[in-house]
């Protein structure tokens, strides 16, 4: 009796957002003169059509989204508006590629691990630039991270035409990573790789850290009310925020490293179709809860995989899905207001005190 409303409460807004966004998508398709049924059928086939599609399409796409979504989650919960997951992910991908094409293939799985660690470190360092600019020079992180995204995009372009270009020097991409230095596949015959498990483990680990460790507690308090955290808790909020910013970049960087060692096996300019931006929608749909981000990443992974199929089979531009994703964010933002206003809804869906020590189901104050 008491449990059911809580589940409904937690799922209500995300379901509303997804439903409304699909309605918008349908309307857009209809207005644009596409066959709605053909397009939506293609979307469904591309996302959930068969086990191999789920594994090779949806889940493979969901992996970088989950990493980037967790990166956004960490930053937002610490009160840092990191819009730079895109650049940090690319930094991780570039660094991991550089390692993978340099080291000896005989290193095998140890080499993969090295590439992932270096990728995470690179992402962290790229975020670190913005963190230092914020801390020492008072530059808004929103502006600096967006700038750094663009810089990293061009830097990647430079790398794949210069130092990291493949041997023949014809294509703007790096050499292929040796099969021995790639992430192992989970199921033969699909593209599903071990990175998926790493992403899920990261989500579980992050949830645990936030809920049960002193560091996680300090991070949440800093994000929710930095003044009180500093004054009442003696927390060094600047240091906590800075670490969270760098950790956020490292998670995104790890996602980039997983992407090159698990999926693309090479670095090229358009490696990320905007994973770092979609990640904001992933994190918000999950209400900044790392565990919920797993489901949220799958939803967006399905949407992106389905969009690719929609473009292939029904010739619907994939940009349509970008509109749907934007709608998810906007509806979520609007539903916060609706939830706060409608008295009946508030008693139905928001009433009663939160049930956990960590107010993760409804982290209103630390949710930007």
């Amino acid at each position: 009796m008491a449990r059911l409303p809580r589940v409904i409460r937690a799922l209500f807004e995300p379901m509303l957002a997804i439903t409304l966004s699909l309605i918008v998508l349908t309307a857009l398709l209809a207005v644009s003169g596409y066959s709605v049924s053909a397009a939506l059928t293609a979307l469904w086939h591309g996302a959930f059509g068969s086990w191999s599609v789920i594994a090779s399409g949806t889940l493979v796409r969901a992996t970088p989204l989950l990493f980037a979504g967790l990166a956004v989650t960490v930053a937002f919960r610490a009160g840092i508006l990191n819009i730079g997951a895109e650049g940090q992910l690319l930094a991780g991908a570039a660094a991991a590629t550089a390692v993978s094409v340099t080291i000896s293939p005989t290193l095998g799985i140890a080499g993969v691990a090295l590439a992932l660690v270096v990728g995470g470190a690179a992402g962290g360092m790229w975020a670190g630039i913005a963190a230092v600019l914020r801390q020492r020079f008072g530059v808004l992180e929103v502006i600096s991270t967006i700038m750094l995204n663009v810089i990293m995009l061009h830097l990647t372009g430079l790398l794949v035409r210069g130092p990291l270009q493949e041997g023949t020097g014809t294509f703007p991409q790096s050499a292929l990573i040796d099969p021995a230095l790639r992430l192992p596949r989970i199921f033969p015959g699909t593209r599903l790789h071990v990175g998926v498990a790493l992403a899920v483990l990261s989500a579980l680990g992050l949830a645990w850290v936030l809920r049960h460790t002193a560091q996680g507690f300090r991070l949440r308090m800093t994000g929710a009310n930095p003044r009180a955290a500093a004054s009442a808790g003696g927390i060094g909020v600047a240091r906590v925020a800075m670490s969270a910013f760098i950790a956020s970049g490292a998670i995104a960087g790890l996602g980039g490293a997983v992407e090159v060692t698990g999926v693309t096996f090479a670095l090229y300019e358009n490696l990320s179709p905007g994973y770092g931006y979609t990640a904001i929608a992933v994190a918000l749909l999950a209400r900044l809860n790392p565990m919920a981000a797993i489901g949220s990443a799958v939803v967006f992974g399905a949407l992106e995989a389905g969009a690719a199929a929609m473009q292939r089979e029904a010739e619907v531009p994939a940009g349509m899905v970008g509109v749907a994703e934007a709608c998810v964010i906007l509806v979520l933002l609007a539903s916060e207001w609706i939830g706060a206003r409608a008295g009946r809804w508030s008693t139905l869906f928001r009433g009663g005190p939160p049930s956990k020590h960590v107010s993760e189901l409804s982290p209103t104050s630390d949710q930007p």
């Binding site: 460790t213 507690f217 929710a224 009442a232």
Partner: protein, 493 residues
């Protein structure tokens, strides 16, 4: 105009300047006003009294168009009106000085006065208007000064001039004397008298009964959103007003003057020698402070805004690094800052998490949520904090319970020293009594307590000894109220 339209008035008296009748207002499940009424005539200083949360500010916000009633009527000179926005209220001659000033710090005095008025923006003309009003009312003000550079008293004068520049005839002042030193407060009250004598109407929200009775013509008392008393000031006594405010079952603490100095039995717990400290913008507010506080005593700090007490308290609490001097304080000092929602608690965190906040910097490894939760339950019981359970967010608590929580948390591990800043601001009489009791209990248990309140009477009531902070230095001005008041003003202007 002047045509009697109500049935509750004698036929020959002119219609009141402002009449609020049967005003009700609900916010969600909370009833702020329940049929409240107030009438004020021309030439009248009308005092509006009530406990915190009785609905005084809610009612006046409705009179100023900042909020709309769910039921009830507003009449001006007998004409029924609807005030949808402050603009409409101002157009009908109503002005309001809110408790928290509505000024834009980054703009000049002239710009603040010009803000929101129509026509062509002519700041030179506005400055002239300010000078003229300033001379006529005896409220000095520099039109070209930036608001961020003005002292609190000048900001209040600006608020009044702003209202006068809009030709306000009905002036609502929400606790205007709370932020002023006694001399300034007296000056302001005298001005309201002159304003009323010239045909204006003043509605004064206030707490200090003696102050009210000395100046007001009539009083209205609100209790739980309802008008419980309207009378001529000459017909009531302080006791009668207090009874009306609190109801029959009141359990207010007995008023007493400053306690007799206790034997200095304790040992020095806090020692400051020639300490200086800067405010956040780098201005040296505390220039040369020396003091010593013993265990088992409450030392009160009396000061006007910006005298350096804010920095002094934070230095004593270990929250601010001094720029000069020697500071000897215990390793752990409890601190109750004045803005609890901003500086002391995390509104959307649970009670347990808010308790765990204290000492969060020293914690390593895992959070022991189980034991923290039971510590929290114990603390809630000891300090009588009313909450559903320890998993509720602190947002769901009333202001008084939030403050009791903060005081209880800061006292939870029996610190050697406790620093408290405006501990009862915004609290009702019962919560105030509870907080005072907690401070005295801590004192009796041997804690060295430093209390600052902008309300001098509260300082005198609580303290064993009073120190005055003026112009960045600390001095002992004895225990006489007037002498302390003079010392507070000294060298600050």
């Amino acid at each position: 105009m002047g045509i009697p339209s109500g049935t509750n008035r004698a036929v020959n008296t002119p219609a009141p300047r402002l009449a609020l009748t049967g005003i009700s207002r609900r916010f969600g499940n909370v009833t702020a006003l329940d049929g409240a009424s107030l009438t004020a005539a021309r030439g009248e200083v009308h005092a509006l009294l009530g406990e915190n949360g009785a609905g005084k500010s809610s009612l006046m916000k409705i009179a100023f168009g900042l909020d709309q009633p769910d039921a009830g009527t507003i009449e001006l000179d007998g004409q029924r009106t609807v005030l949808r926005t402050p603009r409409e209220a101002m157009a009908r001659g109503i002005g309001m000085v809110q408790q928290h000033f509505a000024l834009v710090d980054a703009l000049t005095v002239s710009e603040n006065v010009a803000l929101g008025s129509g026509g062509r923006l002519d700041l030179a003309a506005t400055a002239n208007t300010i000078r003229r009003l300033s001379a006529a009312s005896g409220l000095p003000l520099d039109p070209d000064a930036r608001v961020s550079t003005l002292a609190v008293g000048a900001q209040q004068r600006l608020e009044i001039i702003k209202a006068l520049a809009r030709n306000a005839e009905v002036l609502i002042l929400d606790e205007p004397t709370a932020v002023l030193v006694p001399a300034e407060a007296r000056e302001l009250l005298n001005w309201t008298r002159r304003f009323a004598d010239a045909g204006g109407t003043v509605i004064l929200i206030a707490h200090k009964l003696r102050e009210i009775l000395s100046i007001a013509d009539r009083v209205t008392v609100l209790r739980r959103g309802t008008t419980v008393l309207t009378a001529s000031a000459s017909d009531v006594t302080e006791q009668l007003l207090a009874d009306a405010m609190l109801g029959a079952t009141r359990s207010a603490p007995p008023m007493r003057s400053m306690a007799a100095p206790r034997a200095a039995a304790g040992t020095p717990t806090i020692t400051l020698v020639n300490v200086a400290a800067n405010d956040p913008s780098g201005v040296e507010r505390l220039t040369n402070a020396s003091l010593s506080v013993n265990s088992g005593e409450i030392v009160g700090i009396a000061a006007i805004e910006g005298a350096g007490q804010r920095e002094l308290l934070r230095v004593i609490a270990g929250r601010l690094e001094p720029t000069r001097g020697t500071v000897t304080i215990p390793e752990v000092v409890g601190f109750v800052p004045e803005d609890r929602q901003r500086d002391a608690i995390v509104l959307d965190a649970t009670l347990t998490e808010n308790l765990a906040l204290r000492g969060a910097d020293r914690r390593r490894g895992l959070m022991p949520w189980q034991s923290l939760s039971s510590t929290t339950s114990d603390m809630l019981r000891v300090h009588d904090v009313r909450a559903v359970d320890t998993r509720a967010t602190i947002r769901t608590l009333s202001g008084g319970n939030q403050q009791k929580f903060v005081v209880g948390r800061e006292l939870a591990d029996s610190p050697l020293a406790l620093v408290v800043e405006n501990p009862t601001r915004g609290l009702d009489i019962r919560a105030t009594a509870a907080v005072h009791a907690a401070l005295r209990t801590a004192r009796d248990a041997g804690t060295a307590v430093v209390v600052y309140s902008s309300d001098l009477d509260e300082v005198l009531l609580l303290s064993d000894r009073v120190l005055v902070v003026a112009a960045g230095a600390v001095r002992d001005a004895g225990s006489d109220r007037d002498a302390i008041g003079l010392a507070m003003l000294d060298a600050s202007r």
